[in-house]
């Protein structure tokens, strides 16, 4: 099989050598969506991300400058070594040019490493660690599109006036959660907030009642639930069952930040919860149109990650089209000159360190009475400009930029 691929490649390049003008290599563009297709992150990215990338490809009619665009989907099973093996095979054997999604930062670090060695592009969308544009940055090969842990914390700090001064944390006991808690504490303290307590809950906790009771007993006026996926749903349910909001305590669910997640928790449970999001369906006509199209295909509204993955793939394809190249440096250099305007962002820009900077929003989940239709679930409390929300490039410490 490996041999066959090589011989095909040799044959194709021999044919191409006969043609005078430059073409996209192999006359084929391959995008690999490497995600969690069967585990806890599936709902927020997973198969929805795969569909979103396909939608981006369809907008070009499946072809760019004569080259066919193909989409591969891979399940990294939340194991970095599976992610790295699949990425290696995709780049070396299957001829994949760009890998996207990469929910789970550990997998993202591993795959960025592989892409750097093989000079391919990674459009990081669902991965969260701010180190991906910081000390582990790869500005010539990777772009971080949607969010990061620094931005999540910082935006929440900017929302302290709307929320409250005494905070209690229920944090997932893994690097992402702890990093986010650290960033959050650093960003709310200068705004005059104090932390009255915090607990660490292991990944996969089903019963959050003891954590919620501790939060209630602490006398906090804001309880920040700092985890993701199913854990976030379980924690918010517990907070609801113990009537935290009814007692005037604001619940901030940092992980319950997608429409499907709120829907599966139900408005009854999630109502009143506040969070910072990078996207919501009502922010632009493009966003509304995309949401409608996505619902037709998937029978559910897209999550922020899925819209973001669509947008990342769309803009990468635009760059390939404009530059007629798949070379990461050429493509990313082109992207750095653009103002992105699509279903995900109104005028985002790409920085040299690989960070895509765009506005973020503090939103509140509507009550069942306020909600007019099935997916009408959010109202904007405040808009936070991108340059305030994201970490300044100089503070990231990206080693590749210092050279």
């Amino acid at each position: 099989m490996y041999f066959k691929q090589i011989s095909t490649a040799v044959l194709v390049s021999a044919l191409l050598a006969g043609v005078a003008h430059a073409e996209i290599a192999n006359n084929r563009i391959r995008i690999g969506v490497l995600s969690d297709l069967s585990g806890i992150y599936e709902q927020n990215s997973g198969n929805g991300s795969v569909e979103a990338v396909k939608m981006a490809v369809e907008e070009f009619g499946g072809k760019i400058n004569g080259a066919t665009v193909e989409v591969l989907a891979g399940d990294h099973q939340n194991k970095p070594d599976v992610g790295a093996s699949v990425a290696n095979r995709w780049f070396d054997v299957e001829g994949v040019d760009m890998v996207t999604d990469l929910v789970n930062s550990a997998v993202a670090f591993a795959v960025v490493d592989v892409a750097k060695a093989k000079n391919k592009t990674v459009m990081l969308t669902s991965a969260g660690s701010a180190d991906l544009t910081g000390k582990a940055c790869a500005p010539d090969n990777s772009v971080h599109w949607i969010y990061d842990t620094y931005q999540m914390g910082k935006s929440m700090g900017l929302a302290v006036p709307q929320l409250g001064k005494k905070w209690f944390f229920i944090t997932a006991d893994y690097a992402f959660g702890i990093a986010l808690e650290g960033a959050l504490m650093n960003s709310i303290k200068p705004m005059g907030a104090t932390v009255v307590g915090s607990v660490r809950a292991p990944l996969g906790t089903a019963d959050f009642s003891s954590f919620v009771l501790q939060a209630q007993a602490s006398g906090a006026d804001v309880v920040a639930i700092n985890n993701g996926g199913d854990d976030a749903i379980n924690a918010v349910k517990a907070a609801r069952e113990f009537g935290l909001q009814a007692k005037g305590i604001k619940v901030v669910a940092l992980g319950l930040d997608s429409l499907p997640a709120i829907k599966s928790a139900s408005l009854d449970v999630a109502q009143g919860g506040m969070y910072v999001t990078t996207w919501l369906p009502d922010m632009s006509p493009e966003a509304q149109a995309f949401t409608k199209k996505f619902i037709e295909r998937r029978k559910t509204a897209p999550s922020t990650f899925q819209v973001g993955t669509y947008s990342a793939a769309l803009n990468w394809l635009k760059a390939v089209q404009a530059t007629n190249s798949k070379d990461p440096k050429v493509v990313l250099a082109w992207m750095q000159k653009q103002h992105f305007k699509d279903a995900f962002t109104n005028g985002g820009t790409l920085r040299p360190d690989g960070r895509m900077v765009h506005d973020v929003y503090l939103v509140q989940v509507k009550t069942p009475a306020e909600s007019k239709s099935e997916w009408d679930m959010l109202k904007v409390i405040a808009t936070i400009p991108g340059d305030q929300a994201f970490r300044p490039m100089a503070d990231g410490g990206c080693p590749a930029l210092k050279k």
Binding site: A84, D113, A136, A175
Partner: protein, 308 residues
């Protein structure tokens, strides 16, 4: 007949090792070889010694982290990284073995699991492991200071040589006097004691050997894939190595190799097939247990030996 079967097995193995990288993707083969060695080390303990460890990921993962750290932070050459990885795994193995061999059966398994979980939580909290992010960007370095391992073919043949050396070592151990005594202990511990053998010493040595070889596999994997993560020390990895061994054939020489081959191929090729990976592997495992309990190689061996 048994000797002939093993001889045929060796020939198939060596020929396959030589030609495989021209047919399959070399990096995938490297992964298979690492897990094959890991499963063989596990089989040395369970198949030969009858000790069912549920914590082998601790040795695999410890060596992966230590070798990775040695390569990335201390800048040691490739061979030295493997050596410190193996040493670390052997040290952990000796301590775990000392504590666990006093009990048998399910108690033994539970003690090894509990101790392995300690290692997992250490890996989660110690700064040098980078917790959930994992130890990444480990440099592969050069083999013998000459050939860069960044070339996948060089990496493959280096791994194949390491694998073959360690695998031959396991073969020699199983067929040595030591191996015979260990098997005697497995079959009837009381009798071995009455013959005057210090049973615990033999068990401890077998346990430590198994841990060291598992460590070699882990160290090799960390450097080949340039990463060591929590998955390497997680209990699911301990579970997977049991699965590989049973799938291939418990107590057979080549069984764990075949089991690792099937398992890693499935995990890798199912990843972009659209099928739920864990579900398919689980179903195959159930079928295997129901239909051929001796495992793939065990059943083939039985058929061949019966025919002749």
């Amino acid at each position: 007949m048994k000797m002939n079967f093993d001889k045929a097995g060796w020939i198939v193995l060596i020929v396959a090792l030589l030609v495989a990288p021209w047919i399959f993707y070399p990096l995938l083969l490297v992964k298979i070889l690492c897990y094959a060695l890991f499963a063989s080390a596990f089989n040395l303990l369970l198949g030969t010694c009858g000790l069912m460890s549920f914590g082998h990921a601790a040795f695999f993962g410890t060596a992966a982290y230590v070798a990775g750290h040695a390569a990335k932070v201390w800048g040691l050459p490739f061979e030295a990284c493997l050596a410190v990885g193996v040493a670390a795994a052997a040290a952990v193995g000796a301590v775990f073995g000392y504590l666990s061999i006093r009990r048998q059966g399910i108690y033994f398994a539970m003690i090894t699991l509990a101790l392995a979980q300690l290692i997992y939580f250490l890996a989660l909290q110690l700064p040098f492991t980078h917790a959930e992010d994992g130890l990444t960007s480990i440099p592969r370095g050069k083999v013998l200071g000459l050939f860069s391992l960044d070339d996948n073919i060089v990496l493959y043949y280096t791994t194949a040589v390491i694998f073959l050396a360690a695998f031959s070592f396991i073969y020699l151990v199983i067929n040595s006097t030591f191996g015979q005594i260990v098997r005697a202990i497995r079959d009837n511990e009381m009798r071995a004691v009455s013959l005057g053998y210090d049973v615990n010493r033999y068990k401890l040595l077998a346990f430590t050997l198994s841990a060291a070889i598992a460590g070699l596999a882990g160290a090799n994997k960390a450097i080949a894939f340039k990463l060591a993560t929590l998955v390497d020390v997680h209990w699911t990895t301990s579970g997977n190595v049991i699965l590989m061994t049973l799938l291939g054939g418990l107590g057979t020489l080549f069984g764990p190799v075949a089991g690792a081959l099937v398992f890693v191929m499935l995990e890798n090729y199912l990843a972009d097939s659209g099928l739920p990976v864990q579900l398919v592997i689980g179903a195959i495992f159930i079928l295997c247990i129901l239909l051929f309990r001796r495992g793939v190689i065990g059943e083939i061996e039985r058929l061949v030996l019966r025919r002749s």
